[in-house]
């Protein structure tokens, strides 16, 4: 690639690109409905309706943070993984590269889309928690949680991009689901890891979703394991390495 150009055309084009990418996915029911509704539905079911009162854990608080993580994984994994795979298949990626699309637009537009979806998913879960789950937090903690979730989408964007650079459009949804659901379970997003066998608990630090969940729980003052810096460093390094690998694969000649 030549030096990255980021002039006025590129900037205004990126804004439009992000908006259209968001609209495109919002109008794709197979993405939008599960991505926007499932986290809130599961949270209301397991975090609010079925939560035992007087449990040692603040279930509504704990699960609000972890279902946020479950929610923000989807726009990263599906929005990148499935989209990039099918756009590669259909020749759209080649067309965009042949057209004078500013080089940062392709990934940049999708990143902005994913962060916007993450913000919406956070707001939906926060409303569900505050209005129906009785979650009460200081303003600062709400803001911290929002920040963690909006940026927390990035490692999953990188992972999605990598899947999209390997898989074809047919295989990508299956591969993404094989990553998404087990990782959610093994990272303690659906229920605390203490309920799983010790081996799975020991494995947890491998998953980026576990680290993000710890950051989310930390930001709202829930019990966590590991150090703040360790979680941030893991997620940053994971994002850079996986993103770099994916970018190199996508730049290879077809």
């Amino acid at each position: 690639m030549n030096a990255l150009v980021f002039d006025a055309i590129s900037r205004s084009s990126l804004v439009l690109e992000a908006r259209l990418e968001f609209l495109r996915l919002l109008r794709t029911p197979s993405f939008a409905i599960p991505a926007l509704l499932f986290p809130v539905m599961f949270y209301l079911l397991f975090g609010v309706l079925l939560a035992k009162p007087g449990a040692s854990l603040q279930v509504a608080h704990y699960l609000m943070a972890t279902y946020c993580v479950f929610g923000v994984m989807a726009p990263g994994l599906f929005g990148f993984g499935v989209t990039v795979a099918s756009e590669r298949d259909k020749g759209l990626l080649a067309l965009r590269r042949a057209l004078p699309m500013p080089p940062l637009n392709y990934v940049g537009g999708k990143l902005a889309m994913a962060m916007l979806f993450a913000a919406i998913i956070f707001v939906m879960l926060a409303l569900a928690g505050a209005l129906l789950g009785g979650v009460r937090l200081p303003v600062l903690q709400w803001l911290l949680l929002a920040l963690v979730m909006v940026f927390g989408v990035l490692p999953f964007c990188a992972l999605g991009l990598l899947v999209g650079s390997f898989a074809n459009g047919q295989a990508a949804p299956a591969i993404v689901n094989v990553i998404y659901l087990p990782m959610a379970l093994l990272s303690g997003l659906w229920f605390p890891l203490k309920l799983l066998p010790a081996a799975f608990q020991a494995l947890a630090p491998v998953w980026p979703a576990w680290h993000l969940a710890q950051l989310g729980l930390m930001s709202i003052g829930q019990p966590t394991s590991g150090a703040l810096f360790g979680h941030i460093a893991y997620l940053a390094i994971f994002t850079l390495l996986v993103g770099h690998w994916a970018a190199r694969r996508l730049q290879r000649e077809p």
Partner: protein, 296 residues
């Protein structure tokens, strides 16, 4: 390279897997001309286009777009592209797709102009998925026009278009070319090359077998074709000197010959009922067959 050259391959070699997709190919496209790249599937047309677009890099040799490497954004902002297969996002409307591509260019055509040129004025609010195949092709053409390109790449542009759309499409191309736009065209329809191109390049197995004006390529085949309605049998005519081949198609006789004049005299003498005589230079199809045969 002259100032008038807009795109160029210089001694380009390119291997795709085990196959040498292009071998020592030189070609140059000049401002305001339509250059048709012809050849069978696998001849190297798509590789040549991909190199000119900067999607591939040559193993050796040089590729230039407006005198710059084709990856350079300033060069690419002067081109428009319509690829053979481009699955555009189904859930976006035609207007949104046009807006997206317009945003890539410094001085884009207005949406109204783009829509009018491609004949899609009534489709702007329609989602891409609900268009017919021919309409989708026209939208892809519209996207190629968004940037007021000086050079337009059209890879099999009229596949899936009906006759009327195709005529409209040719008319638009001629208008653009009249205003100085150059076009690189690949096509399977030789009549399309004959209708549009000033120059033709013939690729086979990665080599440029022939290049020149449409007339020069046709003239590589010295033969003429005589069509007429005659009662003579094909066998009778075949026996005459200078007759290369004869075919009967219903009432019609089709005679191929390097020198039509003596044959015409013979015909008129032998058949007083002779009607509907036409003499044509061999078409591009015959020319390409001859070039391929000579090269083999």
């Amino acid at each position: 390279m002259t100032a008038e050259t807009v795109a160029q391959l210089c001694a380009v070699n390119k291997r795709r897997g085990a196959v040498l997709a292009l071998a020592g190919v030189d070609l140059a496209i000049t401002r305001g001309e339509v250059y048709a790249l012809l050849g069978a599937n696998g001849a190297g047309k798509t590789t040549a286009i991909s190199l000119l677009l900067g999607l591939l890099r040559p193993d050796s040799g040089e590729v230039r777009l407006f005198g710059l490497p084709p990856q350079d954004l300033t060069a690419r902002r002067r081109i428009g592209v319509m690829l053979q297969s481009a699955g555009l996002p189904d859930t976006l409307s035609v207007g949104e797709l046009i807006a997206q591509v317009r945003s890539y260019y410094p001085q884009p055509r207005s949406q109204a102009d783009v829509a009018a040129l491609a004949g899609i004025e009534t489709l702007l609010n329609v989602r891409y998925a609900s268009l017919s195949g021919g309409q989708q092709r026209r939208v892809q053409f519209a996207l190629a026009l968004c940037g007021r390109p000086d050079l337009l790449f059209l890879d099999e542009p009229t596949v899936g278009m009906d006759t009327e759309s195709r005529q409209q499409f040719w008319k638009t191309i001629r208008e653009l070319v009249a205003h100085g736009c150059a076009v690189v065209l690949t096509t399977h329809y030789l009549e399309e090359a004959e209708a549009l191109a000033q120059r033709v390049g013939v690729l086979a197995q990665g080599r440029l077998l022939a290049e020149g004006s449409l007339d020069a390529i046709r003239a590589r085949v010295g033969r003429r074709q005589i069509r007429c309605i005659s009662t003579l049998t094909a066998e009778q005519v075949q026996a005459w000197p200078l007759v290369h081949s004869v075919q009967r198609e219903g009432d019609w006789l089709r005679i191929v010959t390097p020198q039509p004049e003596p044959i015409l005299r013979e015909l008129l003498a032998a058949d007083t009922q002779l009607r509907e005589v036409e003499v044509q230079r061999a078409g591009l199809a015959e020319a390409l067959q001859t070039i391929a045969r000579e090269a083999a």
